[in-house]
């Protein structure tokens, strides 16, 4: 791509903000960059798109309508208060904030500015673009020792139509010993063809717990790039599930930094790439301090004409002793013409560690299929059951409603023959 054309695209897509520190900042990624080896970012910047000044239409119904949750709805990067369900400020304990960044940054300017614009904006081009053009998103601040997990918080981001790019920014700050459960949900209109360029920066302080579930269920032909940077302090715990139930072109970049000792990070993901679809999950866990644990499980399916990428990296820093880090990635190619690229990586600079990764790519076990058929299941029914079983391992531990929704969407889409 020519530099002038790219600059022109940036001018539009950033809403005139341009790209901060474009000289020293990250370069536009190409497949020559190791981290973008299998991902063609050029496909996104080929079409014109721009942020909109006023939000489009929110979908008629809310995701998981039966779930009793605080709800924050954002459309095209703008807060939609009419569709949101928020606590009255007076009902909440001192220091708690559940609301849009636009308001949170006024009421708690220090927290909101301190933890925003994290790691990726300095290393990744799209994150830098996100940072310079950041729009509204959720701001969740939980003060020390407060348990907020009795009622989950559902953050919904919707892209309403064609030609639109949104740059939602979300900030989570879970202070010492506090607990929260957060669901992040993205959707797009069937006519959407732009880009969701989302960022989430989370800080989980000492002994705090964050349960994060991220569902991506987008109907349009828009692209999606998410940068999730999570910093964990000593004794903190993260349980995270990412499910790409439906997406046309998507890249998730997750970085978990265990900046304190005794961190626990469990994170799972599942995804499926059907015809003409591209799904890319990059994960990176940094064990910067001793006695941490991480367990990761990602499962992917690819159908004819679909392309899926998994790149998982575990880094154990010097002196980060007694780390236990496990990673597993399983992929199934369901049909001819599908492709999976997997790159499970270990970078270990300390010796007293137990680290392993396993990666398998193949198809359903013929013996299991046969067993099911000999018990009367038709071949499609047997494949369906095995698909469900395959996904369920990665969804284990997520809310039942989330599991049910993701499974239903994926099974309908896959419809194995």
């Amino acid at each position: 791509m020519k530099a002038e054309k790219l600059a022109e695209w940036v001018e539009h897509a950033s809403g005139g903000q341009g790209l901060a520190q474009s000289d020293q900042g990250p370069r536009f990624p190409t497949t020559r960059d190791e981290r973008w080896r299998y991902t063609r970012a050029g496909a996104i910047v080929g079409r014109p798109m721009r942020p909109v000044a006023t939000a489009g239409q929110a979908p008629d119904s809310r995701p998981l309508p039966c779930l009793d949750a605080w709800r924050l709805v954002f459309v095209d990067g703008h807060f939609d208060s009419a569709n949101s369900t928020l606590p009255d400020a007076g009902d909440l304990a001192e220091g708690v904030f559940i609301g849009p960044v636009s308001e949170g940054s006024k009421r708690f300017p220090e927290q909101a500015s301190q933890w925003g614009h994290g790691h990726f904006s300095k290393t990744e081009w799209f994150a830098a673009l996100q940072s310079s053009s950041a729009q509204d998103g959720a701001c969740i601040l939980v003060p020390a020792h407060l348990d907020l997990s009795s009622r989950p918080i559902l953050i919904e981001h919707h892209l309403s139509g064609p030609g639109i790019v949104s740059h939602p920014r979300n900030i989570l700050h879970i202070q010492q010993g506090a607990k929260a459960e957060i669901l992040l949900w993205t959707s797009s209109d069937a006519h959407a063809d732009g880009l969701v360029n989302l960022a989430l920066d989370a800080r989980v302080e000492a002994d705090a717990e964050l349960k994060l579930e991220y569902v991506q269920d987008e109907q349009g032909r828009n692209a999606h790039i998410s940068h999730l940077a999570i910093t964990q302090l000593e004794g903190s715990r993260l349980d995270m599930h990412t499910a790409t139930a439906r997406a046309h072109w998507l890249r998730n970049d997750v970085r978990i930094e265990q900046a304190g000792e005794r961190g626990v990070s469990n994170f799972n993901g599942c995804f499926a790439a059907a015809e003409d679809e591209f799904v890319d999950h990059h994960t990176h866990v940094d064990h910067a301090q001793p006695d941490g644990r991480s367990a990761e499980l990602y499962k992917g399916l690819a159908l004819a004409g679909g392309k899926a990428v998994f790149n998982g990296k575990i880094v154990v820093h010097p002196n980060a002793q007694r780390i236990e880090a496990f990673q597993k990635n399983s992929n199934i190619l369901l049909e001819r013409g599908s492709t999976v690229y997997a790159k499970p990586e270990l970078e270990i600079y300390a010796d007293d560690v137990r680290c392993s990764h396993g990666c398998t790519t193949g198809q359903f076990d013929e013996d299991a299929l046969f067993y099911l058929r000999s018990r009367g299941l038709t071949r499609p029914a047997a494949k369906r059951l095995l698909t469900q079983a395959f996904l369920s391992e990665a969804l284990n531990g997520a809310r039942a409603e989330v599991q049910a929704h993701v499974e239903a969407v994926m099974l309908t889409r896959i419809n194995p023959a």
Partner: protein, 250 residues
């Protein structure tokens, strides 16, 4: 109900069955015994409909239909059940989900309504009791982490749930201790009826102490070389298989 005529089968070019014939009536219990490598498990696999075998000659008729023309699913729907020697583990699929899917799939293919949940649960309870399968095993993934005995009990539990017309027990006694053997065989005995036939494939006579067969066949060199009543099994136990081999050699 089952007529096997002059069955020839090969695996990777090697002839394993060469002219096996066998006839069973409804409600009968037949045992097939034979030394290792005689083709016992091949027969079970062929009945189940595995496609790793090539049938070069012969026929299998089940309830008047050509069994070989049916695929594995259709055979199960028709009422053929195989209790496998090595039941496969299926992580992530719970035993209950598996069975419900199985039963309703068979009913659906027969044009019947799905089994009401209440009936299903009652049936599970009743069948589990039969093989002393406790609740924990029922909720676990299919065969995952089961001991050898638990897997076999689970097979008989499924047999009870699916109510087939023909049950083939492939070396169900292998790897069982004496208690498990008793549990499994009393389960099978309880399931005997005038409509249901059993084909018991085994290396040892001891299972036949518990499940008494109507007929005993000796399989050697890919053929039935001798048939008799239950006393044949005792004779085999007594003399071993060498005796058969020697007779064959003459």
């Amino acid at each position: 109900m089952l007529k096997i005529k002059n069955l020839h089968a090969r695996v990777e070019g090697q002839e394993i069955l060469c002219g096996l014939s066998l006839e069973m009536g409804s409600g009968e219990v037949h045992a097939i015994m034979g030394p290792n490598g005689s083709g016992k498990s091949t027969l079970a696999s062929i009945l189940a409909g595995r496609d790793t075998y090539e049938i070069t000659e012969g026929s299998i008729e089940f309830m008047g239909v050509d069994l070989l023309a049916l695929d594995a699913t259709e055979r199960a729907v028709a009422g053929v059940f195989i209790a496998f020697q090595y039941p496969v583990e299926i992580p992530g699929v719970s035993n209950m989900n598996f069975l419900r899917t199985s039963i309703n799939s068979i009913r659906d293919q027969k044009g019947e309504e799905p089994m009401p949940a209440k009936d299903f649960l009652a049936k599970v309870k009743q069948c589990a009791k039969l093989v002393e399968l406790d609740g924990k095993l029922r909720d676990r993934s299919v065969n995952e982490g089961f001991s050898g005995g638990e897997k076999k009990r689970n097979e008989v539990f499924q047999l009870a749930m699916l109510e087939p017309l023909l049950a083939v027990l492939d070396e169900t006694d292998s790897g069982l201790d004496i208690d498990a053997l008793r549990i499994v065989s009393s389960g099978v005995n309880a399931l005997r009826s005038a409509e249901r036939s059993f084909l018991i494939i085994t290396h040892y006579q001891r299972l036949l102490d518990h499940i008494v067969p109507d007929r005993v066949h000796v399989l050697a060199g890919g053929r039935i070389v001798r048939s008799g009543d239950k006393s044949l099994a005792l004779e085999l136990e007594d003399k071993g298989y060498d005796w058969i081999n020697e007779e064959l050699a003459q």
